[in-house]
Assembly symmetry: D3
């Protein structure tokens, strides 16, 4: 289910975000990031259940509402890093996935896997990117790669056919 606008409203100052453009992605519920706007076709995809999602969304709201301007700005900057620029969002989400994998952060890997699926990367392309992470990061990343494969079972477009 898509994030309800009510649960996201008020997270950001009104001059930057409004409830409507926050109604965008399930990925935002996982890793404290506000993903870019999706078109209708993307929005209609149904994401499989990711555990403890509502607790995370709740914590993100608490963090963004805690009154620390620096944290709020960093969350916004993190969001903007994946918006279209010289590189497109699709490419940058794959960069985010590999960065997360070599730094061995499961929550971050999950976030970027969901986003990569939404951006249209195919399963074999994502696996090829995970191989780069595996070679750069070594066998210490294997447990995270395994959990990435487990997550892909839940993500439309990245499931094994």
């Amino acid at each position: 289910m898509a994030a309800s606008p009510a649960s996201l409203a008020g997270r950001f100052p009104s001059e930057r975000f409004n409830a409507q453009n926050c109604r965008r992605s399930n990925a935002s519920l996982i890793c404290g990031k506000i993903p870019p706007r999706r078109n209708h076709a993307q929005r209609s995809r149904r994401l499989p259940k990711i555990s403890r999602r509502s607790q995370r969304a709740d914590l993100n709201e608490e963090i963004l509402g805690c009154g620390h301007l620096g944290i709020k700005r960093f969350f916004a900057l993190d969001h903007q890093a994946y918006e279209p620029g010289p590189l497109g969002t699709k490419t940058k989400e794959l960069l985010g996935l590999v960065a997360s994998a070599v730094l061995r952060c499961d929550d971050c890997i999950t976030y970027h896997l969901v986003r990569c699926g939404e951006e249209g990367w195919k399963r074999d392309e994502v696996i090829d990117a995970l191989n780069v992470a595996l070679i750069v990061g070594g066998s210490i990343t294997i447990p995270h790669v395994r959990r990435a494969f487990a997550r892909m079972r839940e993500i439309d477009g990245l499931k094994s056919s």
Copy 2:
């Protein structure tokens, strides 16, 4: 509930610790550290339940009782690093919190959050320290910052008012 002396007794050689000065902090049950002595006012605070606490205390006892002198000495040295010196304990616990956050160790973050609350740091001060960690460590620390906020819900003095 405060750690019972019985559960902590025998963890250290008698020349260094006794049951009384180990009856000090709930934080010790979480991260294998022996926090400094607290005065009566601090002791009377009741810490909210932290999950799997007794299992951890049990493992700490097993480690300190395993007969390896080097490990026992390192645990003591780790404890002493936060005792008053040129810097006070309060300052050093905040340093420990930021170090734990940039190194992305949830158990260590929880330990130092509990200790920061005990030492009298306020919620907005702890959040300001977490912002330093977030900027130094980047978005890869976000899931840990989120879990830190979840922990603060359980810690007197760090709860959202």
Copy 3:
């Protein structure tokens, strides 16, 4: 319970592995590695239950069967790194344990603890190696050392007597 040949068959191309030489170690179920051949005495040891083991074996099969040659080759290379060479397997498993501990990967620590027990390292030797990791890696490794002690309770040869 030992991995059944059926569950492992087909993970590798026939020129490299067959079902028989995959029927080797419980450790392979934990961390995506193919441990070396064990003799009968070793095979007859019964490993204590490690949680979520079958899910991990299932994911390893999925990864090795996903069709990416690079990943399959890296898994094989990782396996071969611990086979007898200028250094024996026993020594190399202890190196793997310390590397896993300073890099703070619980799944990897568990894998190498199981393998160290199988290779004949004694509990006090493994603890001495963990002390090296603790000194090199600092107090940030304490939660992982604690979980290593918890794991040793389940591993024959590494249990506290």
Copy 4:
């Protein structure tokens, strides 16, 4: 010698910085950060020579002038993280030092050492903070602690008396 306004002018949009408030700290030349305003007494301190400083300042100018808004904003956010808030700048520079030490970044350690000296931390207090980093981060941080001691020889207020 303090950074000349000319070399720093134009790095930031006019609404945020001007040449005057950039004429502040030698530390800014080292790590790409814009340290907070210093009063006259602080400004009059003469910093010892830090090698390759002008090359670094030159690169910072190139980065901030490269036209990427996200990078410019992150540099500003990094700067703001150490400005007075619930915690004072003095405390936050010490947090930055310990974070840099456990993450083992020599350039970052140097930057925060210079800033800690400017903020009035004494040598024994800085050493006490480095001890926390040493215990948290382990012996792998020793070479960085050694280089921190070498740097302190060049920093007024942190020199051995």
Copy 5:
């Protein structure tokens, strides 16, 4: 100057590499990797001088000739990870750059910057990728980003116009 075949010959078993297809990239001299074949247009580009390059090539030869099959195979696997597959080489080199940046390895960053230039990425695209690394990895990556900018001054196609 391109690596001379003589200096590279004999590094790999004949069934895998020959002198001709090793005469490919200056990047191979920096980080121990064998980059993919380049067409004539790419080969004719002249790379600026990178310091200590010949010493590195010399060490790579020593490593690949040391007789350890596992190391030789890992070097080959590392090379193959960037060859065309579901993802193209161009995309994978950018993934390698970001992975290197968040893991803060200057030599690896240099290698992938050279390769990104060879693959046709533009300066503003590479900077956009470095911004992702900066946001994911935090301010601790700033010194490495600065050195990346210094390196780009020497790399055709990535120089500031």
Copy 6:
């Protein structure tokens, strides 16, 4: 040249060290550690020149003489971790080497390479250990492995024959 007793005397409390048992290893000059006693045959080996060695020894003296008891104790504990225990010194130095390699600390790798040579490990055994580090730590360790090979050229017993 071996460290002169005069330069080391007074670094530690008399009950723990004396000038004589500090006159032991060139490795101590590199990484702030006090290596174990060597027999005459080992002492008579002449180590090749390692750059900036005397500056490092000088800094170690400054750190140990700075008056911080915690730092002094940690240096001693680090030293003791490699003394004979359930595992011998020879084994533990190899563990230290692999831990240093996967954590990518060149100074620490150099220290343990020197010590491994002193303890009698052969070149091909050290290379086999470095291969474990390479597989565990991935291609990001390659520049460090390369520098390890460069160091071995200067260390008796580890030179290529």
